[in-house]
Amino acid sequence: VHSDNTVWITGVGACTPLGNEYDVIADALSAGKSGVRPITHFHVADHPSQIAAQIGQVPTPNRWNTHSTADAFRALDPLDQLAHFCAEQALRDSGWWERRQEIRLGIVIGLGGEWPLRWENDCHQGGQRIREPGRDTEPLVSAVQRHIGFAGPAVSLSAACASGNQALALARRWIQNGWVDICLAGACDRGVTPICLAAFGNLRALSRRNQEPEAASRPFDKDRDGFVLGEGGAMFVLERANSARRRCARVYGEIAGCGASSDAHHMVIPSPDPKPATRAIQQALAEAGVTADQLHYINAHATGTPVGDACETAALETVLGDAAPNVPVSSSKSMTGHLLSAAGGMEALVCMIAMDRGFVPPTINLHSPDVGSRLCHVCNEARDWPIRVAMSNSFGFGGCNTSLVLRAV
């Protein structure tokens, strides 16, 4: 029996380094396929890291083929293309596309660097938009609303790498508050840019395993040397369970619990004290009404930086206690790279696929797990495993800790 406040996910739109369709992404996760490649669309010779998990050309959404032109879509900024595609796909997938004018529809997008990405893209094309503030008139979230054609509440959020989880949590709250009937929520990022690659590279956060791109993203492995930059997006349609049930919608899962906390420690370095991250995880479990030993899968934030992996391991071991050796844990970033602001969206999708297909996606390139870890790592190959309850952690710069509990329906 579901309460009136139960929120389900009934639509998915994604564009990821592993593919743009649900089944393609699922197959890639199951096969342990890496999406990391050498960067070829700009010069990387003087960058310390020269690899990334990229998405290539974003497919043109149907609406842009019928109401405008594909050329107009191609003229949009790369981040805008991505958000338009994911949002439209999600709404179509949910079955609400044709009836979107009849409902109270909101949108929450996790976007870490909307304006910086626009300014940078323009600059590389020879423009000076960054010095022309009069051109900065419409935020992406409003542009998506305008093109899809709805007028509900709209917000873009940024909690760095935790943005996706925050967006899903906020959208769920809007539905529970009764502000909207349906909410588009998720996250998009196009961080594979010269400036972003240089900034993270000079921060010494990125893997320099340039000669072995597919082996470069190595969360939890003692031979890791930083994360691999990724890009992509995942948007979802959220609605009340009773609404989805009434229209016999395909259901990808329930957003059962959300937790968030702050380290209040450092803008970059995670807190060595596991308490703040633990708090976010415990909040999500409490909201979902499950205990840690009832989790069937944890998609760790685990980016492949030594300090980040160690902090998350400590937090998970604290929460899991005696159950730590029994709950499968993996990091899909080993395959997708780190999608930055969009990581939470991507990894929520990974959890939904894991529940749907009944397997734990592996952490690929995990040959020498950290000594002393009590976590149940799923190394290199997917494991068939019935999953009813999954957790996705996302932790970000600025000390943002978030955790999401998803439940199969």
Partner: protein, 285 residues
């Protein structure tokens, strides 16, 4: 098969209300920002603002002005959350970074760019400054930042996991690089507003912030297209020194935000429930 009936059960949302227990404003020119940067609030390390964006300097300063004016210096904010919206954060710093990148390549890009000049940085900095372990999240980034921030903050009202919520807004007016008609560059003033909001109780004081989210029955309703979005400077200029009055502003996505004071209780209004502004010398305006 008949189409399923519409799910829309029309429920007009109620306004979300907080008691505002502290309010701080900053309006600073570049020289004043420099002074603020070099003299962070006393609880912070001397280098706290070393790599921070100007808007973060102003936002954190506004928070500490609110703390001071409300007499909350000894208050723990450990279980408070932070919702912060900065407008076009990082424009000037990124402009310089792009210039250097073009001339000197990848190694010229500062590693401090992403940790200090992106949209999450204001909320993260406030949470670190106050040692707040509740959620922290950045909102917006463009012209509708103020509306988005109030909407996001309103969503968190009633979250009993939070002891209170800092709502912080920053932006420049005019925006850096703006030109007058004669081609000269306008000098930007950095504005910041910080509100310390808690659940309304009978004893929580006279200043309230109320937010009404967009009220629409469906998307067929006409969207009000605002020619000018609500800006941080609209708020700071209106609230500076305000006491015992009510103000209401329309939000971009519909709905409104209202600053409400109880005139009948004006005589007993505490200093903390007025908005006080600082200049770098610390003197209230």
């Amino acid at each position: 098969m008949t189409a399923p009936r519409l799910i829309t059960a029309i429920r007009e949302p109620n306004p979300v209300a907080w008691a505002v227990v502290g309010c701080g404003l900053v309006r600073a020119n570049p020289d004043q920002l420099k002074a603020l940067r070099q003299n962070p609030p006393k609880h912070l390390a001397a280098g706290f603002f070393k790599h921070a964006d100007d808007q973060i300097v102003a936002g954190v300063a506004a928070v500490f002005e609110a703390v001071k004016s409300a007499g909350m210096e000894e208050t723990s904010f450990a279980d408070w959350g932070v919702v912060a919206g900065a407008c076009y954060l990082g424009r000037t710093v990124l402009a310089g970074a792009l210039d250097r990148f073009r001339s000197a390549g990848a190694w010229s890009v500062s590693p401090h760019l992403i940790p200090n000049h992106m949209q999450h940085c204001l909320s993260g900095s406030v949470s670190i400054a106050l040692k707040s372990h509740g959620l922290n999240v950045g909102v917006g980034g463009g012209p509708t930042t103020v509306s988005e921030t109030f909407l996001a903050a309103a969503s968190l009202a009633g979250d009993n996991r939070l002891g209170g919520l800092w709502i912080v807004l920053t932006g420049h007016a005019p925006e850096p690089f703006s030109q007058f008609a004669n081609g000269t560059i306008a000098a930007p003033l950095c504005h910041a507003l910080a509100l310390a909001a808690v659940a309304v109780t009978p004893s929580s004081g006279v200043a309230q912030l109320r937010v009404m989210p967009a009220v629409r029955t469906s998307s067929n309703d006409t969207v009000e297209v605002r020619s000018n979005s609500l800006r941080v400077s609209d708020l700071t200029n209106s609230l500076a020194g305000l006491a015992g009055q009510s103000l209401r502003w329309q939000l971009d996505s519909g709905g409104w935000v209202e600053w409400q004071s109880d005139l009948a209780r004006k005589e007993t209004q505490k200093e903390s429930q007025k908005c006080t502004a600082i200049t770098p010398s610390g003197s209230p305006e």
